[in-house]
């Protein structure tokens, strides 16, 4: 399969901080590839290197078969980049922003309209409005249209869903899914673990290093233990009480339950008795499949 990105032992340091530490991975053409990690994990630095806006200290980065250092001029014509913020001119209208981006890349809105029509049609009724006056969801659609208007082969989206409400977020991922049919490779970063499931492949990033890289299904399946969800009305007391039990390996709050693993990897039937004795009589325990966040936690603990 053709590779859209080949990263080999990329390292980047800012002062005492190692932003990227020996990063190697490859992205196949037409894939939706997610980089998932908290703030400060190195996502933006990596994307700046991929988009030729920054050079690594060590390692080589090839994008669309071109070297990011020596062939940056040609490469830039083929990349659409939506940075985390400030990708739109707030004091230009919707239409003016789009025309501006098309002109910069030596094309016209008409020429590639088909590619963006699905997305742009949502905001076209407001084309005279200043970009600064748009809602978060609308800004996001305009920024995506602008990043696509020169028909790039690689679309780079840095935290496109941060600060956007759940409905717009879901619509946004649907739009990315549709772009697949145009053979565009998409890399996207997000701090939100639940978005992993919308990607073909994901890399979990933490402190400048890749913890794991695979399909979301395989990453979840990589969780090494049986996992149980324990629920009680008194969540805080439940966590404290569970942690005191010597049979329990980990106990972490997850939404309305506590996710628990056991040292001998089976549900200890004495747990109900133990909890009741400690004054938690309403506990409900269920086995469940690990999610991406469970696996991320497990990998972080192994790194420590």
């Amino acid at each position: 399969m053709l590779k859209a990105i080949e990263s080999s032992e990329i390292t980047k340091t800012f002062g005492a901080t190692k932003a990227l530490d020996n990063i190697s991975f490859s992205v196949n053409e037409s894939e939706v590839f997610g980089f998932i990690g908290p703030d400060g994990a190195g996502k933006t630095t990596l994307f700046r290197i991929i988009t030729t806006l920054m050079l690594p200290d060590e390692g080589t980065m090839k994008v669309l078969g071109m070297d990011c250092k020596s062939e940056y001029k040609e490469l830039r014509k083929n990349i659409g980049y939506m940075p985390g913020r400030f990708s739109l001119y707030q004091d230009l209208s919707v239409e003016e922003n789009l025309n501006f981006y098309a002109t910069v890349f030596g094309t016209t809105v008409e020429e590639n309209y088909e590619l963006i029509s699905d997305i742009y049609s949502h905001i076209e009724p407001f084309k005279k409005r200043l970009a600064g006056k748009l809602s978060g969801g609308m800004k996001q659609k305009l920024a995506l249209s602008c990043a696509l208007i020169h028909k790039p082969r690689l679309l780079v989206l840095d935290e496109p869903t941060t600060g956007v409400d759940a409905v717009s977020r879901s619509e946004f991922w649907d739009m990315l899914g549709k772009l697949r049919q145009h053979n565009i490779t998409i890399i996207v970063s997000t701090p939100y673990m639940d978005e992993a499931i919308r990607c073909d492949k994901v890399a979990l990033l933490q402190n400048g290093r890749i913890l794991s890289i695979d399909t979301p299904q395989k990453i979840r399946a990589g969780f090494s233990r049986k996992l149980f969800a324990v629920k009680s009305v008194e969540k805080y007391r439940l966590i404290k009480t569970l942690r005191k039990n010597p049979e329990i390996l980990t106990a972490y709050p997850f939404g309305d339950s506590v996710h628990v693993t056991f040292i001998n990897n089976t549900l200890d039937n004495c747990l109900f008795e133990y909890l009741a004795k400690e004054g938690i009589g309403d506990a409900v325990i269920q086995e469940l499949e690990a999610g991406i966040e469970d696996r991320f936690l497990e990998l972080m603990n192994k790194e420590r």
């Binding site: 409400d165 409905v167 805080y236 709050p253 972080m300």
Partner: protein, 242 residues
């Protein structure tokens, strides 16, 4: 749920000209409750929060926060609330200690009380070694925990948290929720706004706003049952847009 109501909102209306930002809201929040306040962009959440924190007055309706009236006693309200948002909460070019002393002063705490809380807080967070470090040199996770501790430094009745764990690593995130649970268990009401529905899953009850109205209000579990959805996210997508 619990007896002691810390926020009472009855028939709250807030208009800007002819635009109705809050359209007859009714809800109550109890002491020690973790209450999630959700809604799409532009649903009217910010308007409500500004009123609940004494920064803006209702057009009509009855609003009481920590026992104080939102029309006439806004200064008392401000003294009884704390606020933390993900993006800005601490002065990055001051040290840990300087931030604590500064915020303690702003909250009108006495020097001896600030001193006492400083020692307590540093010990609780195992933060002693960071006392004289500049905020911008701290790892993000530590900053978040410190920001929360500072927001409740003056032991407010209510603390408002805006996307408190957005962008935080999974381990820090869990430690953060445990801090929130601990404060809630001590009686502080926690009022959470967020776009991230997995944060909403941690709340005792959530309300969902759409076009200035509250369209749902219950525990995450009951809402999921009612709308036959596996996650709060799906409940939200079903009802948050008209």
């Amino acid at each position: 749920m619990m007896g002691n109501k810390v926020i009472t909102v009855r028939n709250l209306v807030k208009k800007f000209g002819s635009f109705v930002a809050n359209d007859n809201l009714n809800f109550e929040v109890s002491a020690g409750e973790i209450f999630g306040f959700l809604g799409a962009n532009g649903a009217g959440k910010t308007t409500t929060i500004r009123i609940l924190s004494g920064l803006s007055k209702p057009t009509s309706g009855e609003v009481k926060v920590a026992g104080f009236d939102a029309y006439r006693q806004t200064e008392n309200i401000k003294k009884n609330i704390g606020y933390m948002c993900q993006k800005f909460s601490l002065y990055e070019d001051l040290t840990v200690k300087e931030n604590i002393v500064l915020f303690g002063g702003i909250y009108g705490m006495s020097k001896s009380l600030i001193r006492e809380r400083l020692v307590e807080l540093l010990a609780n967070l195992r933060f002693q070694e960071y006392e004289n470090r500049i905020i911008s040199d701290l790892p993000l996770g530590l900053r978040q925990k410190l920001a929360f501790s500072v927001a409740v430094l003056h032991e407010p009745r209510i603390v408002f948290l805006d996307e408190p764990t957005g962008g935080v690593d999974p381990i820090t995130r869990r430690q953060f929720w445990e801090m929130i649970y601990e404060k809630a268990a001590s009686g502080i009401t926690v009022f959470v706004t967020t776009h991230y529905m997995d944060e909403a899953e941690y709340c005792d009850r959530i309300s969902i706003m759409s076009e200035g109205k509250i369209v749902a209000l219950d525990s995450p579990e009951k809402l999921k049952k009612q709308y036959n959805a596996p996650t709060v996210e799906e409940v939200f997508i079903k009802i948050a847009r008209p």
